[in-house]
């Protein structure tokens, strides 16, 4: 394979030559081209998973920084740092070093707050990402594996958050740890053994912070990282789902290639996510541990609240009635066991198994790459609404003392509202959502049949007033549209089908000539708009003349 410098296609530039040298050794040109050419669908809801991933990267970076200063030890020390109100106070080395991070490390407080905000955002992004997967049916065959990995990631994220929250050993986190200890004790039969294994003895012992530390900085992050890698590898293999639309089929993906468009947008999103977290971390105080003071088992601060993603468990714990089960022989199943271990166990198991459950119930075992609009699957959407209502009620109940205080309601009333609400509201949410879905479906069909309301009222010769409708496609002899619904959004306003000129560009001042835009539009959209309206609702196969284009929702 000896080549001369004049061989056709041989690189002449330095960069080209270097690339050649690299490919001679690593043989990456092929895989690299395949990666650069990978097509990504262009819809905002596909960015949610990315936001979670970027928040995770920020967590890794900021967390690593914190480990340079944090001392995960329960050794008693006396605080000597620059925060005067606590000087001379006995505390654990963990709390002491967390205070040092906040007051004696330049920029340390900023990093602590960045880390905490990133954690809050991480879990939030995961949950919203999960909702998008759920409500659009992206979990259906062949993507059940990624759904399972996703649920595992979410549970691990919660555990990661809970262990991290415990580390500074301040009053709030110590109170949280005490509750964790009680929850472990509440496991029937094995509880005390499990507690002594985890804590190395009675609460609190001297080991727990060190153990949680290694779980928080090594074990869970490593598993998260590995699972995210698998999650993404599977995604690349299976390719993305997409919403139905012109030219989009079960056998293709329509969108942008990775390079350069998608890479630029995704990279931009990364910086924006990072920037938002940094801004929050500097501007919005979070977990000011110096105000809580060191952990003291005899003290508690009122209205102590866990991070938001643990609130649902706090809520369920508050609402669950005082039902210890006393077994013969002096054995007890503590009431605490049900709301803190059994309930989340059931919730996460149902969530994990949902794709299998739905497959069983619907008998739909086919592969799906086209997403569904939530309205088109009213049962699933309503089930989701029901679950969300349940979850939100639990979260709200986690702060019921604050609410009771703010609105001067009796706490006991709030508890009962929560208890009854959990039983009554989810079914109502189901019924309501079901109605809404059907209504939306009907409206889509109506527009397809009768056309878009133009707002133009016409008086007929015999005096009747009618509104003129713009049909979306060919009509039959009664003037009824012949388009079938294809699972894609149906345009409902004239602007969406080119009824109005597009807006002139420019933020403060126009940067285009209106006349020029008009011309351009006449040139372009006259043909396209009508063609588009015709195809928008077809199956979208190119064989039927569908013209693939960028999504426009």
């Amino acid at each position: 394979m000896a080549r001369t410098a004049t061989a056709p296609g041989a690189p002449t530039t330095r960069l080209g030559k270097a690339a050649h040298e690299i490919d001679d050794r690593l043989i990456v040109a092929g895989p690299l081209r395949r990666t650069l050419n990978k097509v990504f669908p262009d819809h905002w809801s596909f960015l949610l998973g990315e936001i979670a991933m970027y928040a995770f990267i920020v967590l890794l970076l900021s967390g690593t920084y914190l480990t340079f200063f944090f001392d995960p030890s329960m050794r008693e020390v006396t605080y000597e740092g620059s925060y005067a109100p606590l000087r001379g106070v006995e505390m654990s080395a963990a709390y002491d070093s967390a205070l040092d991070l906040s007051f004696d490390v330049r920029g340390g407080l900023f990093m602590r707050q960045v880390h905490h905000w990133a954690a809050l955002l991480f879990v939030a992004a995961i949950i919203v990402h999960l909702l998008r997967i759920f409500f659009t049916g992206a979990f259906r065959r062949p993507r059940e594996t990624n759904w399972l990995i996703g649920v595992t990631l979410m549970v691990l994220a919660l555990l990661e958050g809970a262990t991290g929250y415990t580390l500074p050993d301040d009053l709030l986190s110590g109170t949280g740890l005490r509750i964790i200890s009680a929850i472990i004790l509440a496991i029937p039969v094995l509880g005390t053994w499990a507690h002594f294994a985890v804590f190395g003895g009675d609460f609190p012992g001297e080991l727990i912070i060190g153990r949680f530390y290694i779980v928080h900085v090594l074990l869970i992050p490593a598993i998260l990282l590995a699972l995210i890698a698998v999650h993404l590898l599977i995604l690349v293999k299976q390719k993305h789902t997409q919403f139905p639309g012109p030219g989009r089929t079960e056998h293709n993906v329509v969108g942008n290639r990775l390079f350069p468009t998608f890479a630029a947008k995704a990279g931009g999103l990364f910086f924006i996510v990072f920037g938002v977290i940094a801004a929050l971390g500097g501007l919005v105080q979070i977990n000011p541990i110096w105000l809580w003071g060191p952990y003291n088992p005899a003290q508690v601060s009122a209205a102590s609240q866990p991070d938001w993603y643990i609130m649902f468990l706090d809520g369920s714990t508050r609402l669950f009635p005082a039902w210890d089960i006393n077994l013969p022989g002096n054995y007890t199943i503590p009431a605490l066991f049900w709301p803190t271990l059994v309930l989340p166990g059931i919730l996460f198991t149902l969530l994990a198994l949902y794709p299998m459950i739905e497959r069983k119930l619907t008998g739909d075992t086919a592969s799906h790459h086209l997403l569904q609009r939530p309205r088109d699957v009213p049962v699933r959407t309503s089930l989701g609404a029901m679950a969300l209502t349940f979850y939100l009620l639990l979260i709200i109940s986690g702060g019921n003392d604050v609410l009771a205080d703010k609105f001067s309601i009796s706490l006991n009333a709030m508890t009962w509202v929560g208890r009854l609400g959990l039983i009554v509201l989810p079914p109502l949410a189901y019924a309501f959502t079901y109605r809404v879905c059907l209504g939306l479906q009907k409206h889509d069909r109506e527009v397809l049949e009768h056309g878009i309301e133009t707002g133009v009222i016409r008086r007929l010769p015999h005096g009747e007033f009618i509104e003129v409708h713009q049909p979306l496609g060919p009509v039959d002899e009664h003037g009824h549209g012949q388009l079938a619904y294809g699972g894609a959004p149906v345009p409902k306003r004239m602007n969406q089908i080119g009824g109005a000129r597009r807006a002139i560009r420019g933020f403060f001042t126009p940067i285009e000539e209106p006349a020029q835009v008009e011309l351009e539009q006449q040139r372009e959209e006259r043909g396209v708009a009508s063609a588009e309206a015709r195809e928008l609702t077809g199956s979208g196969r190119p064989s039927e003349g569908g013209k693939p284009q960028e999504p426009r929702d």
Partner: protein, 370 residues
Amino acid sequence: MTTHDTRPGSTGGADTAGPLHGGPDDEYTPEQLAAMPREDLDRLGARYDGVEVLHVEPGPEPGSALERRYVRQIGAVFALAGLAAFGFVVVYLGSGWFLPDWEWTIDSGTWSTLFTPLLGALMGLSLILVGLGMVLYARKLLPHETAVQDKHDGSHFDRVTTGATLVGGLHNSGLARRKLITRSLAFMGGGLGLMLLLPLGGMIKNPNTGNPLGRTSWAEGVRLLRDDGTPIRPGDQVAGSLETVFPAVPGGNRQADAATMLIRLRPEQVAESDPRAGQADFGYGDYVAYSKICTHAGCPVSLYEQETSRILCPCHQSQFDVTQGAKPVFGPATRSLPQLPLAVDDEGYFVARSDYIEAVGPTYWNRERI
């Protein structure tokens, strides 16, 4: 590009090269490829990857007013991002040098209260602007192309041939026939697994040895001390008040399960008082002492509402009635707060008559009921 070493042993034998490439180099000679414009090469490679570029809307025309406008905008965004980043550097480095010190001070409104917000604002602004610039670039200046990529199902050929290799390998190993080996492998696997897991046994401790969950450091004659270490006489507290007390042992006020509430009841409360069976004499005069550790999940109960005689736990709002042996009257707690039997020693200070007669704190499986 390559020079051949022809010494013996360095050629690896008299082999001939097989197909040397992953791509379809046989179909496209270097000459053909060299003759194609770059755009066609791009499309060719894409097509080879199952990607069809259907439609390209070019960005604004080079040199047009629109382009210049966008270029200026985006350039400004990136420049501002750099400015904010340098701002961060100045604040970070300059504090305590040519700017005021960043370290914490007791009064607010100083540079130290501005330091962290400034770092956040500048870094946030800088990164958001970088992101914004990239997104703007993609939207305004890059051509908008619409591409379609084929999805492939698993290949039948791949499945059958892979299956044959796997099954063939297994078959050739003869494991299915050589039962003795499979059995000893299973035995070995079990042993190995256990062996590797067992060191975790170091974590196991018997929770029942010495009943650590059921005992505290209260004992007969142990004085009740305030957090500051002072003992308490009857009459020190006003009726209707509550004081948190600790056992007079080293580190008693840091122990997780010893914290106790000493409550002096008001006369009306004494009148309606209804202690638990067998614990009527646990109080001393109008004083009663209950464990401060919530029987629900172990938070310290803290809020005493003396008009209603209720003690509220801030964690999940269990409420205990102090006139009824601290029975839970609302919320998720199931058990009364254990009561500490009280007495007064020769010097007239409160002491415990014994440890709590039941485990304090949350319920567990084999907790003894009294």
